[in-house]
Assembly symmetry: D2
Homo-oligomer: 372 residues x 4
Amino acid sequence: MSDTLGVGLIGTGYMGKCHALAWNAVGAVFGTKIRSSLVHLADISEGCARQKADEFGFKKSTGDWRKLIEDPEVDVVSITTPNALHPEMAIAALEAGKHVWCEKPMAVQLVDAERMAAAARQSGKVAILGYNYIQNPMIRQIGEHLAAGTIGQVNHVRIEMDEDFMADPEALFYWKSEASSGFGALDDFVVHPLSLLLNLLGTPTRVFAHQANPYPSRPTREGTHREVETYDIANVLFEIGNGISGILAANRSAWGRKGRIAIQIFGSAGSILYDQERMNELQIYRAGEHLAGYTTILAGPKHSPYDHFIPAPGHGLGFNDLKIIECYELIRAISGENARVVDFDAGLKIENCVHAMARSHAEGRWIEITNA
Amino acid sequence: MSDTLGVGLIGTGYMGKCHALAWNAVGAVFGTKIRSSLVHLADISEGCARQKADEFGFKKSTGDWRKLIEDPEVDVVSITTPNALHPEMAIAALEAGKHVWCEKPMAVQLVDAERMAAAARQSGKVAILGYNYIQNPMIRQIGEHLAAGTIGQVNHVRIEMDEDFMADPEALFYWKSEASSGFGALDDFVVHPLSLLLNLLGTPTRVFAHQANPYPSRPTREGTHREVETYDIANVLFEIGNGISGILAANRSAWGRKGRIAIQIFGSAGSILYDQERMNELQIYRAGEHLAGYTTILAGPKHSPYDHFIPAPGHGLGFNDLKIIECYELIRAISGENARVVDFDAGLKIENCVHAMARSHAEGRWIEITNA
Amino acid sequence: MSDTLGVGLIGTGYMGKCHALAWNAVGAVFGTKIRSSLVHLADISEGCARQKADEFGFKKSTGDWRKLIEDPEVDVVSITTPNALHPEMAIAALEAGKHVWCEKPMAVQLVDAERMAAAARQSGKVAILGYNYIQNPMIRQIGEHLAAGTIGQVNHVRIEMDEDFMADPEALFYWKSEASSGFGALDDFVVHPLSLLLNLLGTPTRVFAHQANPYPSRPTREGTHREVETYDIANVLFEIGNGISGILAANRSAWGRKGRIAIQIFGSAGSILYDQERMNELQIYRAGEHLAGYTTILAGPKHSPYDHFIPAPGHGLGFNDLKIIECYELIRAISGENARVVDFDAGLKIENCVHAMARSHAEGRWIEITNA
Amino acid sequence: MSDTLGVGLIGTGYMGKCHALAWNAVGAVFGTKIRSSLVHLADISEGCARQKADEFGFKKSTGDWRKLIEDPEVDVVSITTPNALHPEMAIAALEAGKHVWCEKPMAVQLVDAERMAAAARQSGKVAILGYNYIQNPMIRQIGEHLAAGTIGQVNHVRIEMDEDFMADPEALFYWKSEASSGFGALDDFVVHPLSLLLNLLGTPTRVFAHQANPYPSRPTREGTHREVETYDIANVLFEIGNGISGILAANRSAWGRKGRIAIQIFGSAGSILYDQERMNELQIYRAGEHLAGYTTILAGPKHSPYDHFIPAPGHGLGFNDLKIIECYELIRAISGENARVVDFDAGLKIENCVHAMARSHAEGRWIEITNA
């Protein structure tokens, strides 16, 4: 492989721009030997694509994503389109011999996620998912503290993920209210906490879930009301192995919450707290300390890879910086290094969990997850 | 009834002193017409009782609680002994024609709680339980906001109650680890959030519970290990009616938490947050406000009955002040006023809930609560 | 001295009730051998006095405070009247052989404060001032940490005291706007931070002050405007000895602040933060700790005398509890013990400071305080 | 001017990388028509420069900054070298017809700052300073609220800026302890709060300053001690016009503070709070609101130009994003738009203020600033 990595980007929405910014920044932040070259951008039409290509700094543009995948200058494809399109695009890209960076969740149907994982295995290429929250230096810190035994043996975990973009009961029925978009909070949100669990403690081995819907119907553009087919709220009890009990709660109709992912981890010698809305902070309590209380740690250069961004502590990374780190880890994976990524096999574990939760809700009982 | 209320106190531990302080203070704080007279104190022995009577300002003392109950000067009996003793004492006091102020929870066995409620009904006397957290002016504020529709129609609730007094795995096995003391976190802690729900939104109509134990065995004084028979952790999903889904979590082994009761209430037009560790604060988010964010309200004289304690805002009530308010509400109930108390019938509802949770844990399924 | 302490109370406003509550509670909280007896209450008229005596639990009442001072049953006099009346009442009480508990500040004029201190010295009686904030267990903790060297050698201090009871520009001109009431923020507020400094680090040896007035005139009841004669804002730079520089800021027109006293103390090995609006918390940073961050400590029974109120940590004291502690320290002083009080000599130091600040403002230069 | 802007960067330390990252990112974030081309990088030696040029993505490199300034491909020069070098480089670049983006502070000597401002005026080129904190969307929000009268007429301001990079008394004497580096906290820190004041309320018209030094001497590499010639602490009282009083405090030896810039602004109808350590939050109190308390607002797309980074609220910008915004404003200024920048004339105002403070310290009196 040459030192230049040709990048193709499909999709230019929220996550599309986020990927574009990461590809623009990653080289200078990390001083990587491999430099990304922004080769090709695909959008819904050639016109849109050209405009975004100019904005984001891509050379070529196309209204047909298959052209991008066939482009021999493209080495890696960022897929940031609606979830339903992930399987087809990701599998095509892998089959064309490209590395893939696909946004989460993998797919709406479990069988599609399985096909994606199989395609990745078969291709021998790097295929990862956009679970950016695991890249936060503070989340890495949590992992290091857990490994070092700072809080002893973990026995209880609570994770909440809440936003309010669907909190308005008068907001119109739209695609996220349709069953074709997935379960609702489960695949919109719960997959993120699961990616954190996967990274920090392992995924659940047993789940009990309850979904709820604060607004059973929503107004339509036509002035009628239509029954909502997804659940905005998911409440989950779980166990990891025999020793950890946990609660996972997600709500995309939670007025006041903007980007909350609140984590509480309790162990035999202390506890750790984190909230994504204050993503540059971490709180740790250690039993037996002279000063008994939560210590609030501000992100700083001691928390790798914060130092690649800023040499002074307390100055703060932003959400987009997480995506830059993810991009760097992808480059490391492509270079054959042992990188911190959620690959398609790990992603499939997360999907298995989510589907087990949906089944638990339907059947009103605990579901064991054998391949956790 | 004369303007003097003769007070008897059984038990002089944590809650015993708390009741004593309340009885000493209530008259001056509220300028009540009915004045309490501290008549009789009972403890494990006459010696202990005499010493505490002097400290707390009681006239008579006894090592035999039945003497106190028979004392014609005593109008109301504070019962602050271990839970297992509540039924016998409360029923005896009621049968002797005394009002009763009994600490929570009612009893270890559901049947005893039922007997207590029956005795209260039969006696025609006031019989209340020590659910002091509902007396916080900020909790009252929450109730007023819910009633006024400040956050619209409530659809989701989360309550957590955590402390760390049993978090040390090396702490010796003691009575709270024995099955005879009850379920563990369920009756130690969960009853408190239930008292708050009862007060604010109604008790659950359907529950799914999972109990867990971070430390399956504990060391004994003899150097051996003994299997723990109670659960320090309780994780509960619930519904109230058809419209509210909720999560209730309790952990008395949660390192770092000292007196946490964190409440999150989400509605169609906003949300409310509260944490007992910062009991003089309340956070409210209202959709559609010009300044979209949580407003942190400090307790002040506008939040009745804070004004009876301090005329200036932001100066803070303490935990013991909640007990003084509870004592005042008891006096109001005795005066025939419509008071804010958890009487034995309401307490029985809480016990029903807790026992339904225990059953759900055992059977791994949702339990409906018909008399919620 | 007998074991009963006869209490007289003059004044029944904010602080009057606060003293009354403390006298009612102190015996039971601390289990004192000396028990207070609420003997005599004086107010503006016999009618008012009688009503308040009944409410607060005092035996006798009078509309003439001199009668109270002459009452042989009275051993100690609580003075909670407007500041201008303190000198006459305190000196009369001391001359009548009573102990005195006088609210802060001592007096409006420095010469009166000097007369009060002289009277106290001559009387041989205990005479203290109501600087209750120093009684907070968390403030005591700060003192212990400073003494123990937890944060090394202190070199910088900032204290802010802010409330908003005069923040409304449309509020009517009243006595606090008149020069006869004193300087304004300086004696209303600054004396409190000075009492904390006195207690923790010593009072300033050199001050530079600037007073400001957000609203130069205020409306009157008659519909006119009247020029304000006091300053709501005081900004002060100071030094303590040669080694500590500091800032002291006070504002009684600070919209949003309800009872803020924010303290920041920096030393060579760490720092300490405190805010009275969260009076049950303390934050400490220690250089060189493995976990580098502020540790938030919740008040608990390890922080004497919290344990006399509640045996469990994190449950919170309230503002009135500080007055109960102050009352207990007064009783200890009367018993001849070495108590934590601001006596009239210490109070005079505070007054000296405040008057030096006023002079600095007038002369636009640093003022040395020789008797600090 | 063509649509390509040739960028030269001098210096590759903390701020050098920060500029490099901004130049890499600005086009994609803002979709600018003018695209930056990273042309030339200068460092202390050709070797260093080449390495950093590769890392940061610059085409050419040099060990002689004058070569960069003479490069006809360079349109704008980022100057991120030590403060003492700013005047020579900035003036040379301006004289060579380049736009200049120079890090703060302008210069060590006031006369040099004046020369720089004169050179900028004469050149007709854009010359701005790196006061990035003013670019935070939350700071812009404050400006908008002040303009809209959200908190009424401002009458009191407090700003604190604290870090702890010089807090260790055992840290070796280094160039920041030498008088040749400037005053110390005054030009290291105080200039930042002044840039915020300049932006929000105007610069002080009258100042009284006191500098202090927590550690009068520091160890040297040779094992001796050397007297410190700068001040780590600056305490300042000020006025803006006749109506605003203020306090400005800065401390670069403040253990525990990592990137604190705490702002409190009080007005006749409310107040605003901000802390750079939580740079995505803002707190506003408005008198007369139904819910009386501080509302905490999380940064979101309504707070321009947050929306260019992330379309969802509460996800957080980072410190480096502020520099990207600053870079964008520079490009706008070069395009002739009315941009939000601190140009050399504005920078000179800040320098005037700082030097007035130093004089006030020396003379112990208020200094008027006539050209504020």
